[in-house]
Symmetry: C2
Subunit: 551 residues, 2 copies
């Protein structure tokens, strides 16, 4: 059997090496149009700062080693220009020459290509880059090492954009990030992204949201935003997302689907016989909604590469869809998400509720504990977990991994408190924040707690509710809600007579835990009361301008 693979990074190389382990006799040829195969795509931004200091560390394998270890015929700098399904051939360009290569099975793993908006002035610029490959990286390194480079513009505030921004700051540059969406990290919801925006600002990154770059002038030295703002930039990196590199597939008559992704069946077979596809270029089924989507991430690509080899070798391992889990470090903070955001749940027309929990990375009585905020999106009727997000200095990766696993296992909100997670003081808490997410979600689903979200507070106040803030008096220096009444929780039961039974309240504390206790207390005493989910800490992150900072 002769197998030709187009693309030699995550999906393609996983397919090649797995196939060799299953079939010592197969002839396996891997074409890649770039000079490097099997490189650490996800590591590229960290080379900008020197945090990854060795260029060689970015290259996981070389064609020579892959030949020795796996008897693979890996051909970099070979661009497949056409697929000829009828004759089972591909046309390959190398060093200007075109040749034909036959195949019994063809695996497409072309990945995704950066979206480069066709803006006025961009063609005249020589200082505008994407970051997708090692040659891209090398060009950018040359650019940022030039003495004249001081200001860098990053267009796009998603995961890659923020990694690039962080590493450029760490390398000593002034960085501006422009994001078209209302907030950075669009896969997260507004209030969770707010923590990250604050951390970016603390580290000197200028963040402009809700604005697109409209054009470039002066050979790329000036970027002009939609509202006319002019930004000077010595070097610009475009990180506004990727799209499937499916031109070759399209030209060969393969069926394309969602946003131009290659359509495959559960065995990764395309619409054309003997042609398979994996990785960033294919349409996958989102595991929560079962809708078609694109998830251009390394983890699914590696898995799909292995599975397509299994299927070709007669070991059926079907494509079971993807969840989409992503994480980014932004200076001291980590932000991560899995499954659906609230925005996505809303767009999908799902019945959902959300809760926020602020907890510690580990037991608060043990040194080094730092706060983290988790958000859960769930169905209040069935308990199904739609998605989760987290932000904090430490332990966010762990909690999102647990929640991604819970979604995979179809666990419901009722199951989250049942999780027995590792607990010793340096590692966790007897009630882990993930357990707490379950308790809080159950309280909401079972009607024990009636919550409003941060964005609902202004309307609630306008409708006549008053904030009852149950923080201790010394905490009020951090900021206060307008027209709020303060009674510390520990005095509330004795001071109930100070409250007006006809007045509807919204209770808040710092994190939401004490206000929930107050909510339960007040409701049982006949008050009309709701709890501000996430409480002061969340509100302060997303709407600091609404708060009052002096008495």
């Amino acid at each position: 059997m002769k197998v030709v693979i187009i693309g030699g990074v995550a999906g393609g190389m996983s397919a090649a090496t797995r196939l060799r382990r299953l079939d010592e006799d197969a002839e396996i040829i891997v074409f890649d149009k770039g000079p490097y195969v099997s490189f650490a795509n996800c590591g590229l931004p960290f080379y900008l700062s020197g945090e990854i200091s060795e260029h060689a560390d970015l290259v996981v394998q070389t064609p020579e080693k892959l030949q020795q270890r796996f008897n693979l015929d890996v051909r970099p700098n070979h661009e497949v220009t056409r697929i000829l399904p009828d004759s089972h051939e591909v046309v390959v360009r190398y060093a200007g020459q075109l040749t034909h290569e036959s195949y019994d099975r063809l695996i497409l793993a072309p990945g995704a290509r950066p979206i480069m908006p066709d803006l006025p002035g961009i063609a005249d610029a020589k200082n505008i880059y994407a970051l997708r490959s090692i040659p891209d990286l090398d060009q950018i390194m040359t650019g940022i090492q030039a003495e004249s480079t001081q200001h860098v513009l990053v267009v796009g505030g998603g995961f890659i954009g923020l990694e690039v921004a962080e590493n450029l700051v760490l390398s000593g540059l002034k960085v501006t990030v422009v994001e078209q969406a209302p907030h950075v990290l669009p896969p997260l919801d507004t209030e969770m992204a707010a923590f990250v925006e604050a951390e970016l600002a603390r580290n000197g990154v200028r963040v402009i949201t809700g604005q697109a770059v409209a054009s470039f002038e002066d050979a790329g030295k000036v970027a002009i935003l939609a509202d006319g703002t002019r930004l000077t930039t010595d070097l610009t990196i475009i990180a506004v997302g990727v799209r499937p590199a499916s031109q070759l597939a399209k030209a060969a008559g393969l069926r394309l689907g969602f946003h131009g992704g290659i359509v495959v069946d559960k065995q990764y077979q395309t619409s054309v016989p003997d042609i398979y596809a994996v990785g960033d270029a294919i349409v996958v089924q989102q595991q929560v909604t079962n809708d078609p989507t694109l998830i251009p991430l390394a983890s699914p690509a590696n898995r799909q590469g292995r599975q397509v080899a299994d299927n070709i070798a007669g070991l059926p391992h079907p494509n079971r869809g993807s969840l989409g889990t992503a994480i980014v470090r932004a200076f001291k903070l980590t932000a991560a998400a899995t499954g659906l955001s609230e925005y996505q749940a809303q767009q999908a027309g799902l019945t959902y509720r959300v809760v926020h929990v602020r907890g510690g990375s580990h037991a608060g009585y043990f040194p080094g504990s730092t706060p983290l905020t988790l958000k859960l999106v769930f169905n209040p009727d069935s308990g199904e977990i739609y998605g989760a997000q987290g932000v904090g200095e430490r332990g966010v990766d762990k909690r999102i991994d647990v929640l991604a696993t819970a979604i995979k296992g179809d666990l419901t909100i009722d199951d989250l408190p049942e999780l027995e997670l590792t607990y010793a003081p340096p590692f966790g808490s007897a009630k882990d924040p993930v357990n707490m997410l379950g308790y809080v979600a159950m309280n909401v689903a079972e009607g024990l707690s009636k919550t409003i979200q941060w964005h609902q507070l202004p309307a609630a106040l306008a409708a006549g509710r008053q904030v009852l803030d149950v923080r201790d008096v010394d905490e009020l220096a951090d900021g206060e809600f307008p027209q709020a009444r303060n009674i510390p929780l520990n005095q509330l039961r004795q001071r109930l007579t100070e409250l007006n039974p006809a007045q509807p309240y919204v209770v808040s504390c710092f994190s939401g835990q004490r206000s929930y206790i107050a909510e339960r207390l007040l409701r049982q005493h006949g008050f009309d009361v709701v709890n501000l989910d996430g409480a002061f800490a969340l509100y302060h992150a997303v709407r600091p301008q609404d708060l009052i900072y002096q008495r």
Copy 2:
């Protein structure tokens, strides 16, 4: 409704506070025989070294605050001496006086008490302690701060024993640990515990396993082991485990079960009407085997406390059993386990296989990645996951949490590669070690890989197999298997003719990844070959004395 709770720490206090949130009118009295309630039991060992430096940090709540916030009547130093189920009363001793207190519902949360072996000489000693409460801790602190105290003996090398040992070393003392089992951390298997034993040794802890203390002499200044070894000790801490504090329950006629634990139904009701029990004292159902067991850990205790309050308040949340997840830090290393060990699976008569995977805490090309070793115990036919263990410097807690969640969700080995865990270079790998566990287990279950375990190697060699070591030549300096043949993996395909087709081989490399590739290669070329699971790294951890360290 008047609810009396016996025991004011994890389970009891969770029950009390949840009950108040559900029922503002209930009369809730909490008796604790000790001077402190709601204290950080799991933090006590870390006060020995000063890592937790403030005594006050160990006390999470005081009776005064619990009164103010939750209207709880919390009475420390009140020992319940009898339960009178017929009259719905308890007899309480306080300051030498006995009084009766009536109840509508009684919740027993007495916890567990340290096992103190009745050894000759122990009664005469004044320097032998357990560590279960703050008064215990205070006594031990006085003892170790005495100038004459230099050598401390820790009897018991389980989780608590090792935490105590580590913190005593950090405080500058010489520590010996005696463990009756063949290795420390009996919930882990031999080869996983071996990493911890090596770390203890590196930090100057003398570890004696497979030995019990038989007696003490010289007012506790000398401990004599079963084999006659005499150990001098200035202070001894007994940490050989706990047993349910169920005497009161037994005296009241409540049904006891497994190892003296209190038997409860799914609503935490004991065999006597209106009496409930939660926490370390109760028998629970082990979630993997469904067998009755005791799991004296904080996480289940807190959950049970909350659930019993729900059930009493008419909000049914049944006891769904416990998994048992535990973690310990031993100097730079972390060791953790969830579900069943191999030994427990064997004892339970289950059909099982095990695999070991050595991976990185995060991507190897990003600075700071450290190795971790994971072990999975699973059913090769159904794919059911029975349990997992991990050891390493970083990221062990995360992987065991993911695996505990996977077990909870009834995920199988086939699901582990499907987990989409957070991946960016500082946090993980595109193929996380948990994904790899699944791949390796599937290879074993599907017959692609035939493995032997470290303890099977001597028999395999005796039966005529030869080790084929596919490490690179420069790696052999770390040690070699006896009579091994070395052919680096990258040369293997070309040098096949050097191997004897009639010779059965066992392949090894450093971690098991290259040897698996070699195994697949050799088998397809007709060789009789098995793979040494865990390979050199695991064997070197558990049987370093079997290896050869010079050519």
